[in-house]
């Protein structure tokens, strides 16, 4: 019987922990003054975290297997997409050209 509640325990506890993480500093800094160093650090959050999310999805061919070369179609596609993003700032164009490049690079391999 206990096994049937396992999913709900995970869902509720992780859901709650995620919510508390999301609320944490929004709630804290509504009451407490933010230290100047933290305020300066915050502007680097988008650049650092987004890069940390993107890179593993591109340079690993399978978990733990680093494939940082032009032989990896995902590397080629990501570079092409990055160039499009840089020059156009257009997300749809970035995603479209990235996917097309991926398909072409996989087909040519």
């Amino acid at each position: 019987m206990s096994a049937s509640y396992d999913w709900w325990i995970v869902i509720v506890v992780v859901g709650l922990l995620n919510y508390l993480s999301r609320l944490s500093f929004i709630a804290l800094f509504a009451k407490v003054e933010m230290p100047p160093l933290v305020a300066r650090a915050l502007r680097f959050v988008p650049a650092a975290m987004l890069m940390a999310i993107v890179v593993p999805a591109v340079v690993f061919s399978s978990p733990g297997a680093l494939a940082l070369s032009y032989a990896n179609p995902k590397v080629v596609a990501a570079l092409a997409a990055a160039a499009v993003a840089w020059y156009t700032r257009n997300a749809v164009a970035t995603m479209t050209l990235g996917m097309v490049t991926l398909w072409v690079a996989e087909w040519m391999r």
Binding site: D6, W7, W8, I9, V10, I11, V12, V13, V14, G15, L17, N18, Y19, S21, R22, L23, S24, F25, I26, A27, F29, A30, M34, L37, R40, A41, L42, R43, F44, V45, P46, A47, A48, M49, L50, M51, A52, I53, V54, V55, P56, A57, V58, F60, G64, L66, L68, A78, A81, A82, A85, R89, A91, V92, T94, M95, G98, M99, L102, E106
Partner: protein, 216 residues
């Protein structure tokens, strides 16, 4: 905004398929996408539940992957301060990678708290609804898109499109570069701690670069 929604569709499909193959009931699958509302945590939870990992391991691992929300929360905090408390709670519940990246740009560009907060809330609700639909389709229909199309690659491409405008000057570029190197170097850390550690490395690198540039 719309691009984030497009990027969410294949991600949600993958999560729905994962929940189904890990043996979650329809209610559990929906509960997961509605309450956890984080693709990375949902995929990890499904993998660990399918592998019959101890519940504590599953919970701690999903919590660790969600630690990046602490940073998002801190970065949103100055913009949320003037708002009523229930707004802050709502925006917090709906805070995801995509919503954060979109909202923080809007706050910076518009400089108007009300405008930015409405945008953050609207974005969050739309992303949440889209997430429920795509996870549900994935659960019931399975992966409707052939695996050979590698459509899940839209997810990092979407983040890439959000990343590039964030590289606004030298220090932010150094922050990104350091985070990128760190996430690969630290890949062997357990529980995907590499993600949050790489984020911290990037932030410290950015701060150092900024103070050097500022020095005479």
């Amino acid at each position: 905004m719309a691009p984030s929604l497009i990027g969410l569709l294949p991600f949600g499909l993958v999560c729905g398929v994962g929940a189904q193959s890990a043996g979650a009931s329809p209610a559990e699958a929906l509960g997961m996408s509605a309450l956890i509302f984080s693709g990375a945590a949902q995929i990890l939870a499904c993998q660990l539940m399918a592998a019959k990992a101890p519940l504590a391991v599953t919970i701690v691992t999903c919590f660790v992957i969600g630690l990046r929300f602490l940073m998002y929360s801190a970065a949103m905090a100055p913009h949320m301060k003037p708002l009523p408390e229930r707004w802050r709670h709502a925006v917090a519940f709906l805070l995801t990678d995509q919503a954060f990246a979109a909202a923080i740009r809007r706050f910076r560009d518009s400089g108007d708290t009300r405008n930015g907060a409405s945008y953050a809330l609207g974005t969050g609700v739309l992303l949440w609804a889209t997430w429920q639909v795509s996870c549900t389709i994935g659960y019931w229909v399975g992966n409707v898109i052939p695996a050979a199309w590698s459509l899940e690659f839209v997810v990092p491409l979407c983040f890439l499109a959000l990343l590039v405008p964030a590289l606004e000057d030298g220090p932010t570029r150094i922050a990104a570069l350091a985070a990128g190197i760190a996430v690969v170097t630290l890949d062997s850390l357990p529980m995907r701690l590499s993600l949050i550690c790489a984020g911290l490395v990037g932030i410290v690198a950015g701060l150092i670069a900024e103070s050097r540039r500022g020095a005479p």
